[in-house]
């Protein structure tokens, strides 16, 4: 990697982060996010429209196919900002659809008219994505889509290829459940949906990219939650002293900071490896490692943030609660820490056998 390429991605990342200001207030205000909760799918279509105008669905579409052709470093920079702002819109799922479909991404998605989500996961608690197709029909279940009840299209991943179907497709039903963050977690049940299957060889790679990007979202979430908590520690007094002066809280705060910087460094280094041609094993292990640490970070900060906020921490009116509920909702997506450790342990066995 030479100096000029280095500057290229940094300049791109800077611009993307700048553009995200349209969606994420610079002052960290969460009024919009708070209002969007528990209202339908918990996200705002107008914001998805903005995201489309900013070109985010095109992030992972090659320039030759009319996309932005950006890498993981730029993506992670964006996702971190979205995580800081607890942005509830399914931006990542849309980017995944773009990455999978490339030039086949529907025009309506590019214009922001339609919202597309990627449906890949076969069952809760595992990362399998091969199911869903029988012959030329979609038959089966795809689980754990965020906000599917208000999406227009689904990019459905199967081992027979990719299918794009509208929410209204015959034979498609949605089982929806509210999530703690005010959104929904939805399963698609497909009892024979007619579909054209597009070939797609990039599913594993896109899932790894998305896992890394999702880790960056959790990093941003944790980073902002720690900032808010540190602010509270500086201001809040007990026994006539700021509670942030108590050594036990100070030491626990430094532990959060260390975990945060480990996560940041791992994600940055892994994104760079992804962008500069890592092999399949490096990609798989890198995504797993980042997701593992980011999820544990988010839950560590959530737990400590509540405790350090004291009684305020368990009220819904304090913003810190929004971070806690988001961490609880999102930490296990794209493979929980348990799954990631299991996967890494399995790889260890395989490496030895090889």
């Amino acid at each position: 990697m030479d100096g000029s390429m280095n500057e290229d991605w940094q300049e791109n990342a800077r611009m993307i982060v700048e553009s995200a200001r349209a969606v994420v207030p610079a002052d960290g205000a969460l009024d919009r996010v708070r209002k969007a909760r528990f209202d339908g799918a918990g996200f705002d279509r107008a914001v998805m429209q903005q995201a489309a105008e900013l070109g985010w669905p095109l992030m992972w579409i090659g320039e030759e196919a009319g996309g932005l052709g950006l890498g993981l470093r730029e993506t992670c920079a964006l996702m971190e900002v979205l995580g800081r702002g607890l942005v509830p819109e399914p931006v990542l799922s849309t980017m995944m659809a773009g990455a999978l479909l490339q030039e086949a991404l529907p025009e309506t998605v590019m214009t922001g008219e339609a919202v597309i989500l990627t449906a890949w996961q076969d069952v809760t608690g595992a990362l399998d994505w091969q199911g869903g197709a029988k012959g030329d029909l979609l038959i089966g279940t795809k689980v754990n889509l965020r906000g599917a009840v208000e999406a227009d299209l689904f990019a459905i991943v199967t081992d027979a290829g990719l299918a794009v179907v509208p929410r209204s497709a015959e034979g498609l039903t949605i089982e929806t459940a509210e999530t703690l963050d005010g959104g929904t977690m939805d399963h698609l049940h497909m009892t024979g949906v007619a579909a054209d299957f597009l070939p797609c060889a990039r599913v594993e790679a896109v899932l790894q990219d998305a896992t890394l990007a999702h880790s960056a979202y959790l990093l941003g979430l944790a980073d902002r939650a720690l900032e808010i908590t540190l602010d509270y520690l500086r201001v809040r007094k007990q026994f006539d002293r700021p509670i942030g002066s108590f050594q036990s809280l100070q030491h626990r705060a430094t532990e959060m900071k260390i975990q945060l910087e480990l996560t940041r460094a791992a994600i940055a280094a892994t994104a760079r490896r992804f962008d500069t041609g890592a092999d399949a094993a490096t990609r798989a292990a890198g995504a797993a490692r980042c997701k593992l640490r980011a999820a544990e970070l988010a839950m560590l900060v959530a737990r400590e943030a509540v405790q350090m906020h004291g009684a305020m921490g368990i009220t819904d009116e304090a913003d810190i609660g929004l971070f806690v509920r988001k961490a609880m909702t999102e930490a296990n997506l794209f493979g929980s820490p348990r799954q990631q450790r299991r996967m890494l342990a399995t790889r260890l066995v395989q490496e030895e056998a090889a």
């Binding site: 996961q121 809760t124 608690g125 689980v143 754990n144 459940a177 509210e178 999530t179 703690l180 963050d181 977690m185 809040r236 007094k237 007990q238 026994f239 509670i243 108590f246 036990s248 809280l249 839950m299 737990r303 509540v306 405790q307 004291g310 009684a311 921490g313 368990i314 009220t315 819904d316 009116e317 609660g321 806690v324 509920r325 609880m328 909702t329 999102e330 930490a331 296990n332 997506l333 929980s336 820490p337 348990r338 799954q339 450790r341 299991r342």
Partner: protein, 384 residues
Amino acid sequence: MTALPDYNAMSDAEFRRTARNFVETNYPDIPRYSLSRLHWDEVKPWYMVLSEHGWICPTWPRKHGGMGLNAGKHLILIEEFERYGAARVNDIGPVMLGPLLLKHGTEAQKAHFLPRILSGEDVWAQGYSEPGAGSDLAAVRCEAVLDGEEWVINGQKTWCTLGMDANWIFILARTDETVKKQAGISFLLVPMDARGVTIRNIENLELEAEFCEVFFDDVRVPADHIVGRINDGWSVAKALLGHERVFIGAPRLSAAALSRLKRIAQRAGAWDDPVFRDRYVALQCDVLDLSDLFETYVDRLRDGREIGADVAMLKIFQSELYQRISELMMQVAEEDAGLRHAPEGDRQLHAAATYLSARPTTIFGGSTEIMRNVLAKAVLELPS
């Protein structure tokens, strides 16, 4: 209501059968095993059943309308009610104010207030905490000034558990600004419907209104609505809660959570995972060892021995254990960890409910940090 038998004279086994039979026979058609507190409109039928049978105030002396249970029998009662999953009633009157009036109240106060707690006519709220004071309960800013025959109260209380259900509240108010902070506090009784009292509900992380803030704006109450002497409210409020301090460290909450963890793991397919098993047995050992430690304190209560500052160990470990179990639940629940409502409509399978309900246990009733400070100084004799 007929005269109660002498429960303390029963064998433990006999009283356990009695208590179990009581709850099984009399528990009304209201929720069981609820992780969140029920409001008065839901739990009132159970309160009234207990009231009618003379079982609403287990620890009060029999001559004052209680069951007169000793610590050992009281524990059995609690165990049997919890085993059945009986809801916790609005118990600040029976548990806190009653014993406090019995110790510090005038005869007139006892005669007036105790029967109304027993009957369920009065539901009490506690007004100790204030915004910005946290665990520093002596940092009272809410003030009361004697104006002729009335106290005039101005200020604010917060974190009043189920305060919106109460028709009375007891508060700590500052009645002397000029002395050391513990020395100028009085203990006052205030009707919630007094002019100038307003309430604002606080939603918790589970989005339930479990607490409220109470604002006092020139609220007037008669001068005799004070318990204990003027400026002596701190010692009134600090009066020992007796075995409540022990029971708050009981292993039941964690033991019940552990059985839910097992069900969640079974549903998620993690139950047969050796890695999960290893963590599960470690937590199981924690619960069992906590039970053994808890029993040493119960033995002390039974023997009428003193309970010292070291009892804080129980609450610290129990609350953190409960949290650790809930955190493992969240891990094995996989993507379902984020669900707002119970999967399959089964509360037992709802990891997030336990996770959230476990959060306040290390914050309220003395935060873990405060209790560790106390332990370090009072028990380990470490310097300040």
